[in-house]
C-alpha cells in the first residue's frame, strides 16, 4: 500500500542522517517510538517527538534501553508500527528484548547509530564495530535483518525498507547507521506519499475460533493477530508450540527455533540488496558498507586510474549476508579487500565464503574517523600485486 501522507514530509530537504532516519520511520507508518537518549542517535527521537503529536504517533522516553526495547515489542503487538533508537551501550542493553522480539516474531525496527566502542568508547565519533552484535547479540539461535545506509538520503529510503522487511518477515530489523552518516547533512529528497510503498501488518483473516498464533498457513511466517481484536491469543519468550503455549521439549525447540532461522536463511536472493559496480572484469573486489563504502569509492577510483581492474560490492542489506554473490566472486577474483571501522567483522564473513579460494585483505581501524582512502588503495594495490 501507499504511505499515509500525514507522516510524509514531501520535498527536498537539507537533513542529517538522524533526522532523515526519523522521517523515514514516520513515512513508513511508524507511530510508536520508545527510546532513551544516547549520543549520537538522539536527534532521531528529537525529530520524531516534535512531529509525532501532529500525526497520531506517540513517543515515550523510557527509563532505560531495556524498557525501551520491551515497550517497542509490546507496542508492535497492538499492530502499531514501532521503533527504538540507540547507540552501542544502549544496543547492548536492548539485546535481551531483541531476542524476545525474534522469539515472539514481532515486527519492529532498532536503529543503532554506531559510535566507537567498546563500553562508553567514543560517544561522538564514528564506528562500525557492532555489526556482529547486530547479528549475534542476543543469546540463542535466531536470525535478523540488518541494513546499512551510506548517506542521509539512504537513511530515509532504507528506514522505510527496514520497516517493510520487518513486516514481511516478522523480525526485528537492525538499522545499522554510523555516527558519520547520522551527523552528516546532505540533500534528502522525500517523495510524495503515493510514491512510497509501505507494507502494512499482515493481519490474519482466520476466525477467532480457528486462529493459532504460530500455525503456518503456506508460508514460513505465521499470520498476525493484534492485541485487542478478540483473538485472545498467548505468546511467550519460552519455546512454544503453534498455539503459542510453552512446550519444553527438543522436538518443539527444533520446530520453533529452526523456523526462526529458516524464514530468513531460506529467503535467499529475496533479501539480497547490494550495489555492485565493475565486478564483471574485476581483479580485486572491495566489499564495504555504510560510510566506509563512500570512502572506498575514492580508493577504487584511484586504483582504476592506476590500471587495477577494481570492482565494488556495497552491502545495503548486510544481514543476511549475500552469500551467493560473494561465493561466486570468490571463484573468479584475485582477492577481496574489506575496509570497515573495526578490527575485523564483516571481513570474517567474507573469509568464510572465500573459503581459501582467494585472499581477503581486511583494512580496519578502531573508529573515531573514517579511513584514509590511501590506506584502502594500498591494500587494493597489494592484492593486485599478489595476484600478478
Amino acid at each position: 500500500m501507499k504511505a499515509d501522507p500525514a507522516g510524509v514530509l514531501t520535498g527536498a530537504h537539507y537533513l542529517d542522517g538522524d533526522f532523515a532516519c526519523g522521517e523515514g520511520a514516520m513515512a513508513a507508518g511508524c507511530r510508536f517510538v520508545a527510546g532513551y537518549p544516547i549520543t549520537p542517535s538522539t536527534e532521531v527521537v528529537e525529530r520524531i517527538s516534535r512531529r509525532f503529536p501532529t500525526m497520531g504517533g506517540t513517543f515515550i522516553q523510557m527509563e532505560d534501553e531495556l524498557a525501551s526495547m520491551a515497550a517497542v515489542v509490546g507496542g508492535s503487538w497492538t499492530g502499531t508500527k514501532s521503533m527504538t533508537v540507540t547507540s552501542g551501550p544502549g544496543f547492548s542493553l536492548m539485546m535481551e528484548n531483541i531476542g524476545l522480539a525474534a522469539m515472539m516474531e514481532t515486527p519492529c525496527v532498532v536503529v543503532n547509530v554506531q559510535r566507537g566502542g567498546p563500553s562508553t568508547g567514543l560517544p561522538t565519533m564514528v564506528g562500525q564495530a557492532d555489526m556482529m552484535q547486530a547479528r549475534w547479540g542476543s543469546h540463542g539461535d535466531y536470525e535478523v535483518i540488518a541494513l546499512s545506509p551510506q548517506s542521509p538520503q539512504e537513511a530515509f529510503d532504507l528506514t522505510v525498507e527496514a520497516f517493510n522487511l520487518s513486516e514481511i518477515y516478522r523480525v526485528p530489523v537492525m538499522f545499522m547507521m554510523d555516527e558519520c552518516v547520522g551527523h552528516m547533512t546532505e540533500r534528502v529528497v522525500i517523495p510524495e506519499a503515493d510514491e512510497i510503498e509501505v507494507v502494512p501488518r499482515r493481519l490474519t483473516e482466520q476466525s477467532k475460533e480457528e486462529f493459532l498464533p504460530y500455525r503456518l498457513n503456506g508460508h514460513l511466517v505465521p499470520e498476525f493477530a493484534r492485541a485487542g481484536d478478540g483473538y485472545r491469543f498467548h505468546t511467550t519468550g519460552l519455546t512454544h508450540d503453534e498455539r503459542g503455549y510453552p512446550l519444553m521439549s527438543a522436538d518443539c525447540q527444533e520446530a520453533c527455533v529452526h523456523r526462526l532461522v529458516d524464514k530468513i536463511r531460506g529467503a535467499g536472493d529475496d533479501l539480497t540488496h547490494i550495489e555492485e559496480d565493475g565486478t564483471d572484469d574485476a581483479e580485486v573486489v572491495v566489499i564495504s558498507y555504510g560510510i566506509t563504502a563512500r570512502v572506498a569509492r575514492m580508493a577504487i577510483t584511484m586504483a582504476r586510474e592506476r590500471g587495477v581492474p577494481t570492482g565494488s560490492v556495497r552491502l545495503i542489506v548486510v544481514w543476511p549476508f549475500p552469500e551467493r554473490v560473494i561465493t561466486e566472486l570468490a571463484g573468479r577474483v584475485a582477492g577481496f579487500v574489506v575496509p570497515e571501522l573495526n578490527y575485523g567483522q564483516i571481513s570474517l564473513e567474507v573469509e568464510r565464503l572465500a573459503a581459501g579460494r582467494c585472499p581477503v585483505w581486511h583494512v580496519g581501524h578502531g573508529g573515531g574517523t573514517v579511513h584514509d582512502p590511501e590506506a584502502i588503495l594500498e591494500k587494493i594495490l597489494e592484492a593486485a600485486k599478489v595476484a600478478a
Binding site: 530537504h13 561522538t124 551527523h183 552528516m184 540533500r187 581501524h365 574517523t369 573514517v370 584514509d372 590511501e374
Partner: protein
C-alpha cells in the same frame, strides 16, 4: 591510518570549507545555511559535517562543508579552500589547514590573522554590524551574507532562500537584514570576489 601523504591534490569541481567560531556564535547554522543554499537552492551537492559533543560545547566549534558539482564520496575535508574564522581560538586551531592558495574569511575584530603570500583574505566586522542591527546573535548571518558576497559560491538568491528556510520562525526579517548587511559590506568594501591579501581589509561599520 594516518600515513604521510600528499593532500595538495584537488578533486576537480570540489571545494572544501571550514567554518569555526566559539560556542553560541552559530557556527553550525552558518554551515547549514551555506550547505542548504548549495544543495537545495542551487545545483550543487554539499555535505555538512559538524563537530559534536564536548568539543561542540567548548570554545572552538567547527563545521565543515564539501561542496561539489558532482557526487561527493569522501565526506570530510582535508585541506580547505575557504576558511571562515569567527573566533581567534578557532583560527589558531585550524588555520594551518588552509590551502596555500585558499581564501580566509574572518571576523576582523576578533581574529588577527597572519597573512600568507598566495592566500587571499577578507575581513568583516560582523559582530559590530550585527550589534548595529540590534542583535549580536545574528553575527553568523552577517558572516553568511559576507561569505556570499565574497565567494559568489552560489547565486545570492539561493543563499537568501537558505537563510529564510533555516532561521526560527518570527526572526526572518532580522536575519534577512543581517544577511543583506553582510552582503552589502562585501560589495562595498571588497571589489573582487577573490581579494588579494596585500590589500588591507577595510575598516569601519556601515551606517
Amino acid at each position: 591510518m594516518g600515513k604521510e601523504r600528499d593532500q595538495s591534490e584537488r578533486t576537480p569541481g570540489r571545494i572544501e570549507i571550514r567554518i569555526t567560531g566559539f560556542g553560541g556564535q552559530g557556527v553550525v547554522l552558518a554551515g547549514h545555511i551555506i550547505g542548504c543554499a548549495c544543495a537545495i537552492h542551487a545545483d550543487k551537492q554539499a555535505t555538512l559535517i559538524q563537530s559534536f559533543g564536548p568539543e561542540a560545547r567548548g570554545s572552538a566549534c567547527s563545521a565543515t562543508l564539501a561542496v561539489s558539482d558532482g557526487e561527493i564520496f569522501y565526506p570530510y575535508i582535508r585541506r580547505n579552500d575557504i576558511f571562515v574564522a569567527m573566533s581567534s581560538e578557532g583560527y589558531e586551531k585550524y588555520h594551518h589547514e588552509l590551502r596555500d592558495d585558499g581564501m580566509l574569511i574572518y571576523e576582523q575584530d576578533l581574529v588577527h590573522p597572519t597573512f600568507k603570500p598566495g592566500q587571499k583574505a577578507a575581513g568583516v566586522p560582523s559582530t559590530r554590524i550585527a550589534e548595529s542591527l540590534g542583535r549580536a546573535i545574528v553575527q553568523n548571518i552577517v558572516m553568511v551574507g559576507f561569505f556570499a558576497g565574497v565567494t559568489r559560491l552560489v547565486p545570492e538568491e539561493a543563499m537568501r532562500e537558505a537563510v529564510l528556510g533555516s532561521v526560527p520562525a518570527g526572526t526572518e526579517e532580522l536575519n534577512l537584514k543581517a544577511f543583506s548587511a553582510g552582503l552589502d559590506y562585501a560589495r562595498r568594501e571588497i571589489t573582487t570576489p577573490t581579494l588579494d591579501l596585500k590589500r588591507p581589509p577595510a575598516e569601519g561599520v556601515p551606517a
